[in-house]
């Protein structure tokens, strides 16, 4: 299973499924990362975490631990 965490900088991936539950999952979905949406991985923070992605035409910062819950292809 490939997750958003594995996606490389500069890559555009498509969300397949969201794992996990509760607050973090809801928050990720509230911010617009839902099934079928395309996510562009823009960059890594200088210290290697979190990741900056572009989704629904805006910039979002997400921790790698949370990105692991997002299955992509």
């Amino acid at each position: 299973m490939k997750t958003l965490r594995d996606a490389k900088v500069g890559e555009t991936v498509k969300v397949v499924k969201l794992h996990g539950e509760g607050a973090v999952k809801r928050r990720i979905m509230d911010m617009g990362i839902t099934k079928g949406i395309e996510v562009y991985v823009r960059k890594l923070a200088p210290l290697g975490d979190p990741v900056e992605v572009n989704v629904r035409n805006y910039e979002l910062s997400i921790r790698k631990a949370d990105a692991e819950m997002i299955e992509v292809e």
Binding site: E21, G22, A23, V24, T34, R56, E59, S61
Partner: protein
């Protein structure tokens, strides 16, 4: 008279909501907090109609039960039922903004949409069919530019009209299995609730929203019945109920926008993207961050302009302290009052008590205004979010936010603005943790204490000051790790999924207003606390019982009938000092109280009344610690000597002698423990006032103070007891207790810990 209309302003963070609120209400605003939480609440009267109250809800992305801001907003909307919602929508980011709109339209409250930043959309060549958007959403849409003020009055009028006559019905529907379940839920559980709110409640029940389920208290049988419908929908759509709803909202918006929003072309980088490419570049990000932080610090708290630095803040504060506060207010008022022939106690109360306290507060104001101005600038232009992005990795390990860096940095200058700078942290748990730990940083006023100890007992060694910073940082790290595992902090989850808003030029109106609001709230709240406490401390040091007579000790000591030679001998004996060193202050309430209280510090090695009294007066201002040492070690500047130096070097010998005497020859160790305690214990009253203001809760304020004092005591205790293992003279019981405390500390530090998933509000 008609019922007063109330309109709620709702919208995403960074959608221009603050700008719109300011444009709609002008100067007519009341700033406070939502009850019991650290979230700021603003209300104002509309400029177009002074009879209408506009309530600014916290910036939110959704009405989920998981973040404090969202819970505050939805509780207000459901319980207070405002007459209309003015929903500001960022036209450059329609999809995510309308996601909140779909939820707002379900509340049974008329909604009016203020479509902001349409000018930017048009400039980019994109097209939004506003008429069609309004038709599809079922509510009026007004195009505005909050920054320029275009259309703002029209939006307000539309909202008033809607509040009087409007009605909004949600236009979107969910898929078959969901609607089927919703119909059932409406039938069996929510039919006795107000009709217009039934849809909202039904959807929340379907989502298994804990807060709503708790509130409705559905009987178990009914609950099981509903659960079947929900489970059926979940099975058919292969997802959990909450995610189904979220997903379908976004799908609905996506389909709707296909016919409404036309993007000209895509791919080219915006100006904001170009800036961000440099500013958060992997290599350049940290150096740029250091430069920005250096500038903030150097301009506000660094070396004053008068001394060749660039700090306008320090320059103004020095002037306020020395000229306005010291010379004009304190000395001036004394001259005037004495000229009027006022009683000495009254002169003392007003000049030395109240005005000295007010002066101390005023002194901070210019420095803080400069600092807040820069913080507001960073916030408004979008860099603050990047600070969290850059520093998150380090700080989250200690239960803090990447944005905690700024309060800590500012705290090395002064803890008060440090505590107040925590307001930019979104997560309440991180914010509270930051408020509690910021004052561990050695602030400017603690420097003289370090100077005194280093000079008097360590031959001026620089490692003492270095160790003070190290201890401050270590205290923050250790406290963060320990506290985040405690019950007080374990409650709330901290998802760090954060929008990085586009950079833009700061809106000066917002920046200046934000600066002033913070400055004013400091003057008001910290001001009252410090004034009252200054009076109390002034009273404790000025009054006392001398040879059976109560009054101002300075006056009573003038009277030889009261202060007889025999009495002086008694005092000298009680205080353990030679007779010729007896001072009026030795009979003050403070000295009397400090004597028994000093028992508390016995296990820390400095259980003597002098360091105890100095520690207590340190609550007024940490500078007072050294000043009081000066008084207690009988430094008298009236006998032709120079004024006591800031680090008290004239009394170093006497301090060293005394510390060595009462600690049984371990003066260095006792002094170091004394310094640790004073660095880590509760900050001055002004900073405590700031903590109270930011925590917005008596319980949390007391918890913070108790924790700081307790932590300071434990660390100083361990240092003193374990230190004697090497210095000689071990106390067996003390050593065992110290080892137990150390073990507890380490256990709390290293025990496993799991993030919570639920938000606990009230």
């Amino acid at each position: 008279m008609d019922k007063q209309l109330r309109i709620a302003l709702a919208g995403n963070p960074n959608s221009g909501k603050t700008t719109l609120f300011n444009k709609l209400t002008g100067s007519n605003q009341f700033v406070g907090n939502w009850p019991g939480v650290t979230v700021e609440k603003k209300e104002g009267k509309l400029i177009v109609d002074r009879e209408v109250i506009l309530t600014d809800l916290p910036g939110i992305y959704s009405l989920s039960p998981y973040t404090l801001e969202e819970v505050v907003a939805r509780n207000y909307l459901i319980e207070e039922k405002p007459d209309a919602i003015l929903n500001i929508v960022d036209a450059t980011n329609l999809e995510r903004n309308l996601y909140l709109t779909t939820q707002l339209t379900e509340l049974g409250i008329p909604v009016v949409i203020a479509l902001n930043m349409m000018d930017l959309v048009k400039k980019a060549g994109d097209v939004v069919n506003v008429k069609e958007l309004s038709r599809q959403l079922g509510c009026p849409v007004v195009e505005i530019s909050a920054l320029k003020g275009d259309g703002v009055a029209d939006a307000a009028k539309a909202a008033i009209e809607a509040a009087k006559h409007g009605k909004t019905l949600p236009q979107h529907s969910f898929s078959g299995p969901v609607e089927h379940a919703l119909a059932h839920i409406e039938e069996v559980t929510v039919h006795n609730l107000p009709e217009e709110q039934q849809r909202w409640y039904a959807i929340k029940v379907f989502e298994r929203d804990e807060k709503v389920l708790e509130q409705l208290n559905i009987p178990a049988g009914v609950r099981a019945h509903i659960e079947q419908d929900i489970a059926a929908a979940e099975k058919e759509l292969d997802d959990d109920a909450e995610s189904i709803i979220t997903n379908e909202r976004y799908v609905y918006i996506g389909n709707m926008l296909k016919g409404i929003y036309k993007k000209k072309g895509k791919g080219q980088l915006s100006t904001s993207d170009k800036i961000d490419k440099v500013v958060t570049n992997r290599i350049l990000a940290l150096p740029i961050f250091v430069v920005v932080m250096f500038l903030v610090y150097a301009l506000a708290m660094g070396t004053s302009i008068a001394d060749g630095g660039i700090a306008i803040g320090t320059f103004l504060t020095d002037w306020t302290n020395d000229v306005l506060g010291g010379a004009w207010l304190q000395d001036g008022s004394r001259a005037i009052l004495e000229g009027w022939g006022a009683a000495p106690w009254l002169v003392g109360l007003i000049s030395d008590g109240i005005l000295a306290g007010v002066g101390a507060v005023l002194g901070f104001v210019p420095q803080m205004l400069v600092l807040f101005l820069m913080l507001c600038l960073l916030e408004d232009c979008g860099y603050m979010a990047r600070i969290a992005f850059i520093m998150d990795r380090i700080f989250r390990r200690f239960g803090l936010s990447g944005k905690s860096f700024i309060p800590m940095l500012v705290g090395t200058g002064c803890g008060i603005p440090g505590v107040m700078a925590s307001r930019t942290i979104e997560n309440e748990r991180d914010r509270r943790m930051t408020i509690m730990t910021t004052t561990f940083m050695p602030c400017g006023a603690k420097m003289p204490i370090i100077g005194l100890i280093a000079g008097a007992l360590f031959g001026g060694s620089t490692w003492v000051a270095t160790s003070a910073y190290f201890i401050g940082v270590a205290a923050i790290v250790i406290s963060g790790i320990m506290l985040k595992k405690t019950k007080m902090f374990a409650g709330d989850p901290a998802p760090f999924v954060m929008e990085l808003p586009a950079y833009h030029l700061p809106a000066w109106g917002n920046v200046l207003r934000g600066t002033w609001e913070r400055g004013w709230s400091f003057i008001k709240r910290a001001g009252t606390v410090i004034v009252v406490s200054s009076i109390v401390i002034w009273f404790l040091t000025s009054f006392g019982s001398v040879n059976g007579q109560f009054g101002m000790v300075d006056d009573l000591y003038e009277d030889d009938a009261v202060v007889t030679d025999e009495y002086i001998a008694v005092v000298a004996d009680r205080m353990g000092i030679p007779e010729d060193e007896v001072e009026p202050m030795d009979d003050s309430i403070l000295a009397r109280v400090a004597q028994p209280v000093s028992v508390v510090f016995k296990p820390l090695g400095f259980g003597d009344w002098k360091p105890t009294a100095a520690t207590v007066t340190g609550l007024v201002a940490k500078e007072e610690v050294v000043a009081n040492f000066g008084i207690m070690y009988a430094y008298d500047d009236q006998e032709g000597e120079e004024e006591l130096e800031e680090n008290g070097d004239q009394i170093w010998d006497r301090v060293a002698e005394d510390f060595n005497a009462f600690s049984g020859g371990h003066g260095q160790l006792a002094a170091f423990a004394f310094m640790i305690f004073n660095l880590l214990c509760a900050p001055c009253f002004a900073a405590i006032g700031a903590i109270k203001r930011e925590m917005n809760s008596r319980k949390w304020t007391w918890f913070a103070i108790a924790y700081q004092c307790g932590f300071a005591w434990v660390i100083a205790f361990i240092v003193w007891q374990l230190g004697r293992l090497f210095a000689g003279g071990v106390n067996a019981i003390g050593l065992i207790v110290a080892l137990v405390l150390l073990a507890l500390l380490l256990w709390q530090l290293f025990k496993p810990y799991k993030e919570a998933q639920k938000l606990t509000v009230k």
